[in-house]
Symmetry: C2
Subunit: 221 residues, 2 copies
DNA sequence: TAGATTGTTAATCGATTAACAATC
DNA sequence: TAGATTGTTAATCGATTAACAATC
């Protein structure tokens, strides 16, 4: 415990993937696995897996490998999935509604406690058992319920102002879908930007590059 | 041109972000920008920006900087945004419908040409001007329209089999939302996995780690 | 010309991989 | 004990940063 301090972001970004693969193994009733086997499965090196896991502690056993269930539980605990961070979602349009319905917040360490929008035709609707409130009620709600995290599914134009308002209401973490890079300098502020558009453009590049490589290889014959 | 061969993935992943920031500058009628100014804006180093851009060619001018409009156009062209890769989407549930409606395919190098589902209550619906077809018609459709890319918004259990079927029908690129890591070894296959759940878990970790760091710093006082 | 800023090379830093002693 | 596989250190690789000559 407490070994995980200053672990590099690249390692952290791999943890959920380990967690998923271990979950799959568990479903297949695999009880133990070696770093070599897991590496083959995940297309990583065994060294990297052992290195990654040892950032947090010695979860394996020499000569045996790793116990799948134990390792998964440990990683889940490191990720903090066993908590219920009170979380609100702002912007219940297409995307916001889908995120609210689709994500498994409970098993990811979050609890969705409020939905907000400024569109009168959306306010009052029920999504995932929550009634959409007017953003005008945000101050009141935050004082009462103290949400720590907010999911932003709002237009880019209002992202910054909304984030600043939420920060002033005690929200410290953002899951940001707003096509705008929240680069705010607040002590302790945590932002995960999700840029689906960037991902799509990267795919475009790679298709493009792949075709060029093919052309080049044909030319070089 | 054709300078971009074997450019590292980390550089490529930054290109869409450059593209977005340059778009913002353009809207503000900024015509020129130096690497130093852009670095400050994007929270990068000027060195990195110059290094990144020089993977593809000398877009700047000594003593002047970069022309915003020109640079943006160049990056768009490198990303291949000026194309129309025929693309289909499989799985028009909550997520699939939102992706179909929400993404700006046209300005990302793609053209959405077909939607497919196996749910009778969804088949026949119209989304983004396209009628949802039965997945049973996939073979026929692919032979006729030759889609090159597919967006997978299907349950993880059927992801692999569906991908293999699509590959056999000539689809070579996947934008995969299915919570399953497509790790297939086909020559020229390109996959972008989007794991929203991983992103959420990473946020959970960072909140957790941030709190621990705070506790530690209090202890150390 | 002088000032500014790029393109590019060299230095540094960090992350991945390899190797192996420790140990189950 | 012998075999297997970890935890951990050392070597390698790649990416970022710094520096500066080239040049607008």
């Amino acid at each position: 415990m407490a070994k995980h301090q200053g672990v590099s972001l690249s390692v952290i970004k791999r943890l959920p993937r380990y967690y998923r693969f271990l979950g799959d193994l568990l479903k297949k009733d695999v009880t133990r696995i070696s770093s070599r086997e897991l590496a083959q499965l995940m297309q990583l090196t065994a060294s990297q897996i052992r290195q990654d896991l040892n950032c947090f502690g010695g979860f394996g056993q020499q000569g045996y490998g790793y116990n799948v269930a134990d390792l998964r539980r440990e990683i889940g605990s490191i990720l903090g999935l066993d908590r219920n961070i009170p979380t609100i979602l702002i912007g219940v349009g297409n995307l916001g509604r889908t995120i609210a319905r689709h994500m498994d917040f409970e098993s990811s360490g979050f609890q969705l406690v409020g939905l907000f929008d400024n569109n009168p035709s959306v306010i009052g609707q029920s999504v995932r058992g929550l009634t959409v409130s007017d953003v005008a009620q945000l101050d009141e709600f935050c004082h009462a319920r103290q949400p720590k995290a907010a999911i932003l599914c709002i237009p880019r134009e209002v992202a910054r102002a909304t984030a600043e308002r939420l920060i002033s209401l005690g929200v410290t973490s953002f899951w940001n879908f707003s096509h705008y890079d929240l680069l705010l300098d607040f002590e302790g502020l945590i932002v995960e930007n999700v840029h689906l558009g960037d991902s799509l453009m990267t795919l475009s590049y790679r298709i493009h590059a792949g075709e060029q490589a093919k052309e080049n290889s044909i030319q070089s014959n």
